[in-house]
């Protein structure tokens, strides 16, 4: 029953996010096509198809790079924002409305409340991030003879990153008792993760943490796709982070007082 309620509460927000992601993907795709036209790529494409003597792949490098950027960099941003927002809004919505006591006095295991939130939130995040990438498929097919596979192969890594951020945002909100506090804590953790290793390296010349951090971000670097076995390791790391936050949330709700 709580799943129905969770979807009922979040469907408008999730639909809006998905529409925004789809629109973004289409706009980026159209921009790439326009840019390619501006640079005469379509003439090259036409010549290549008729005369078969130009290096087709070489000529299409720029639009391909742009689409790669859209999926990877914008996808990362979408995963971060969707993860933060969805994670904080679900449980934070119950705190904010003062309904946590009502939810927790239903005769059901408390873990089901957490699992239901994740069952609704994670697919939404996956659809939102995918919503940005999938409208690009026809454009990718147009500008790259080998098809969109290489770029879209990076989507699972983005989804896993989104799941980890969702977990962080969800757990901090659950622990702090409000969406605003949870979001603040989550952003603080992300900023610390981003800047502390660099500061450590700059100030104390210790690069261990910096190298470890860079390793975890390998999957999102330029030309990292398709992922090698090493980068799958980094992706697995983020999956483990997401699972850890789920485990922490399940443990926390068991003892949570409201």
């Amino acid at each position: 029953m709580y799943q129905w309620k969770a979807w009922h509460d979040s469907r408008a927000r999730i639909t809006l996010y998905i529409l925004a992601a789809l629109s973004g993907g289409i706009l980026f795709g159209l921009n790439v096509i326009a840019d390619a036209n501006l640079h005469g790529y379509w003439a090259v494409l036409y010549a290549a198809s008729r005369r078969r003597f130009l290096n087709y792949d070489f000529c299409m490098d720029l639009p391909f790079w742009m689409l790669d950027w859209v999926v990877r960099d914008c996808g990362q941003t979408a995963a971060l924002l969707a993860g933060l927002s969805l994670g904080a809004c679900s449980v934070g919505g119950e705190y904010g409305a003062g309904t946590m006591h009502f939810v927790l006095t239903r005769p059901d295991a408390r873990r089901n409340f957490i699992l239901t939130d994740w069952k609704v939130g994670l697919p939404a995040m996956v659809i939102i991030v995918g919503g940005l990438a999938f409208p690009l498929v026809p454009f990718l097919a147009l500008v790259h003879a080998k098809g969109p596979g290489n770029i879209l192969a990076g989507l699972p890594a983005l989804w896993v990153l989104g799941a980890a951020v969702y977990g962080l945002s969800y757990f901090t909100t659950l622990a702090a008792g409000s969406a605003a506090k949870g979001l603040t804590l989550s952003v603080a953790v992300l900023l610390t993760f981003s800047f502390f290793p660099t500061a450590l390296n700059e100030w104390w010349h210790s690069d261990t943490l910096l190298r470890a951090t860079e390793w975890t971000l390998q999957a999102f670097k330029n030309n990292a796709w398709p992922l090698t076995s090493f980068e799958w390791g980094a992706t697995a790391f983020w999956l483990a982070v997401a699972a850890s936050f789920l485990g922490a949330s399940l443990a926390w709700i068991r003892y949570r007082e409201v």
């Binding site: 029953m1 309620k5 006591h101 009502f102």
Partner: protein, 307 residues
């Protein structure tokens, strides 16, 4: 089967160094209407939340309907209807949708009762909960608790926002539909008139401790206010003495039983007995919980004998 619907022994709940509930011993008989009375901050809501697993006890033990609150919480929640103090439910859903949501959790849920009470309490079932008035929100909370087929109703400040007509209807429903079927009602409130109207047991809590737990009938039959005059105020120690009030011309003694014996003791100490009066629940409550501060006129009020 345990004869007690709620039984706590030495229940303690600490918030930091504050003892919100301080060694609480409660015995709520099955099938009773139990008025759990106390001032603001006395520990009523903390006790209720602890019984329902929303707070974890710091010490002590508690059983609800024979189930331990630590081990068998789901069994307790399945059998307990709860109206919370803040009367907040899902704002985006209508009462009909909230009832549908709740139905999935309770096997004994009755849609017939939903229709009956919605009509009875005049609840707008298709208006989003967030747009309802406080009174209608309170009614929806009661509707949910009443329709789930609970063996125990725990109602925290049940009449907040309700007009006198609906309050009257609610009290009748509680007695006629619920208590008459052998179910238990636990009313946590400081609305003494409502409690006095339907309760058969009362417990008075202050500063986390139970000061009095007795049958209301016992209060009516045995508790007395003795007014006595005399030159000196004698030092009196008696287990029957609950509170003392001094005024310019006389002193009032609130005693729990054996009022005649107590009056005789006062006479023996040189006091003149002016009158012996029956007391209301309000007088007992005020006598037990009033702080040792002057009343508006600047004269001292009734002071608990235990203070």
């Amino acid at each position: 089967m345990n004869d007690l619907a709620i039984h706590t022994e030495g229940l303690v709940k600490l918030f930091g160094k504050t003892r919100a509930v301080d060694g609480l011993d409660l015995k709520v008989p099955r099938g009773s209407v139990y008025g759990f009375l106390g001032r603001n901050g006395a520990g009523k809501t903390t006790t209720v939340k602890t019984l329902l697993g929303l707070l974890r006890p710091s010490a002590g033990a508690a059983q609800v309907l024979g189930f331990d609150i630590g081990r068998d919480l789901i069994a307790i929640l399945e059998r307990t209807g709860f109206v919370p103090e803040n009367k907040m439910l899902f704002g985006s859903l209508t009462p009909a949708q909230i009832a549908h949501f709740n139905q999935g959790y309770f096997p004994k849920w009755s849609n017939e009762l939903v229709a009956r009470y919605a009509n009875f309490f005049e609840i707008p079932m298709q208006t989003p909960f967030s747009k309802l008035s406080l009174g209608n929100k309170t009614k929806v909370c009661h509707l949910l608790a009443l329709c789930q087929g609970a063996d125990l109703l725990i109602l925290d400040e049940p009449s907040i926002g309700l007009d006198p007509v609906i309050t009257d209807l609610l009290l009748r429903v509680l007695v006629e539909d619920h208590v008459s079927e052998g179910k238990t009602v636990f009313l946590s409130s400081h609305q003494l008139a409502e409690v006095e109207r339907i309760a058969d047991w009362v417990g008075i809590i202050d500063k986390g401790k139970i000061l009095l737990e007795t049958r209301l009938e016992d209060v009516r039959q045995n508790y007395r206010l003795i007014r006595a005059a005399g030159d000196a105020a004698p030092a009196i120690s008696s287990p029957d003495l609950m509170a003392v009030q001094s005024s310019e011309n006389f002193r009032s003694y609130l005693v729990t039983r054996q009022a005649d014996d107590f009056a005789a003791m006062l006479r023996a100490k040189g006091m003149t007995i002016l009158e012996i009066l029956p007391v209301s629940l309000e007088e007992v409550f005020l006598g037990l919980t009033r702080k040792e501060v002057p009343c508006i006129s600047g004269k001292p009020g009734m002071i608990p004998a235990h203070a």
